[in-house]
């Protein structure tokens, strides 16, 4: 009797994300304690093919969509929101390369991404810019036809582990701070020095250190042409950042609620009187409603971006900003409320299997990460530009 060999089906994107999430969960407690980069999770991301998620199948990638990216970020975010952010932000960078890199650079970068050999970090904030993307003082120089990069960046997520960087700087001939260029630079093209100090409240495994990057790259490593950064920021970075971050935060808050519900339903710990508490039931309802609100907004915004419409109009900018503001507030509020619901032992102690303590610290960063305060100011002005109130 012969047994047919087991057919190995290609793994789905969600199966790959689940594998990465498992590795992330296994190392999250330690990387949080040590404030260290999750090297095991990055290795799992490389092996999973997810670093090439958005790369077309014809170029060896998984050919995934933005929706696939969000589902993967939600899944990994349930285990470790730092790892999910590392993944989501890498995908933002790859989307910029896919949409705007020239043919020579694409030919170099796409196979590397697809093979899992290229983890891309972003250097788009500068000291004094307050997280604002569209201004930079550092300027590219030209030397013998090449471009000379010399740039300090106060916060580069995964900067010590990235294989290459996308760096925003003023072009050699750009005299306006508002005119920026985006440059691709491999680690072997750069001298990298950094402080290495990183002791934040949460998001500790995101290892977002200050770095100085200096080196020389050929002209064809400018992505989107000189002065092209603002177009890339509006069309790629801003929408994918708001969608991707929101998915990571929603994943984190969903994971927290799930762990609390499993604990409450566990026969060993179940106490009828606790589950009959009207206060507890009301709190669970409120938490769930917060997550459903963010979920609905996330997928509405994803649809709008997928339709390929002009995202620069006030109603559409308002929707994307509202997603980020709402996800940041509601995901943090949901976990805070869960802590109140389950109390000191399972809400406040570090070693509780609910991991609410870590998740709350992680999600505290959400409102600060591209500050909600600044987005509200922009949204107030944008609201004035739409007196008819055309909801997107």
């Amino acid at each position: 009797m012969t047994v047919a060999p087991e057919r190995t089906l290609p793994r789905t994107i969600q199966e790959r994300a689940a594998e990465v999430a498992e590795v992330a969960a296994a190392h999250a407690e330690r990387t949080d304690r040590e404030a260290s980069f999750p090297v095991e999770t990055l290795a799992a991301l490389r092996a999973s093919g997810l670093l090439g998620l958005l790369v077309p199948v014809a170029d060896g990638g998984l050919g995934g969509s933005t929706a696939d990216l969000l589902r993967a970020a939600l899944r990994i975010g349930r285990a470790d929101v730092s790892a999910a952010m590392i993944f989501a932000m890498h995908c933002q960078q790859t989307a910029a390369v896919l949409a705007h890199a020239g043919p020579r650079l694409r030919a170099e970068v796409l196979p590397e991404l697809a093979a899992g050999r290229l983890y891309l970090a972003s250097v788009t904030t500068e000291a004094g810019s307050g997280g604002h993307l569209l201004s930079a003082e550092s300027r590219l120089r030209t030397a013998e036809g090449d471009l000379v990069v010399d740039r300090f960046a106060p916060i580069v997520t995964g900067g010590a582990h990235a294989d290459a960087f996308l760096i925003s700087m003023r072009g050699p001939d750009d005299d306006a701070p508002g005119r920026l260029s985006l440059v691709y630079a491999r680690r072997d093209q750069l001298e990298i020095s950094g402080s290495g100090d990183w002791q934040p409240m949460g998001m500790r495994a995101s290892h977002s250190v200050a770095l100085r990057l200096a080196g020389t790259v050929p002209q064809d490593q400018v992505v989107g042409g000189h002065g092209g950064f603002s177009r890339i920021a509006t069309g790629v970075f801003a929408p994918l950042a708001h969608l991707g971050w929101s998915a990571c935060w929603l994943g984190a808050a969903s994971g927290a609620l799930s762990r609390v519900l499993r604990m409450l339903r566990d026969p060993a710990g179940r106490s009828r009187s606790a589950l009959g508490s009207e206060l507890l039931l009301t709190r669970l309802s409120t938490v769930r409603a917060r997550l459903d609100t963010v979920h609905a907004l996330l997928w509405r915004a994803e649809r709008m971006v997928a339709e390929g419409v002009d995202l620069s109009t006030p109603p559409r900018q308002l929707l994307l900003n509202a997603l980020k503001i709402t996800a940041a507030e509601q995901c943090h509020a949901a976990v805070d409320e869960l802590i109140t619901a389950v109390g000191m032992r399972h809400g406040y102690l570090r070693d509780s299997p609910t991991r609410l303590e870590r998740t709350l610290r992680d999600l505290r960063s959400a409102a600060l990460n591209y500050s909600n305060d600044r987005l509200h100011l922009a949204d107030g002005r944008l609201a004035l530009l739409d007196p008819e109130v055309r909801l997107a």
Binding site: L134, D174, D175, A176, P177, G178, R179, G227, S230, T234, D310, S312, T313, P314, Q317, L377, A378, R381, L382, L384, L385, D386, P387, E388, R390
Partner: protein, 86 residues
């Protein structure tokens, strides 16, 4: 372009450094950010007596001095057309 329009525009362009505004002048690169567009819009309404239609409020309209002027001129023409109609 109407000299009243370029005179009105100039104070919003902090990187203009006294150069002449042409149809091709890129507004975002010369310093017009989204935070200022609302003030610029109000200034245009006050000077020319017409609001820009909501559907013109996008990056393409605010890309260059020429694209913005085209939108202002179209809004004025539409306004005069409707006022002049019996």
């Amino acid at each position: 372009m109407d000299p009243r329009f370029t005179a009105l525009l100039a104070p919003f362009l902090k990187h203009l450094h006294g150069r002449e505004i042409t149809e091709e002048s890129p507004l975002p690169e010369l310093g017009l950010d989204s935070m200022q567009s609302i003030e610029l819009l109000f200034a245009i309404e006050d000077a020319f007596g017409v609001p820009l239609p909501d559907e013109d409020l996008n990056d393409a309209t605010f890309a260059t001095a020429g694209s913005l002027w085209t939108a202002v001129r179209a809004a004025r023409a539409a306004h005069e057309g409707s006022v002049g109609a019996p």
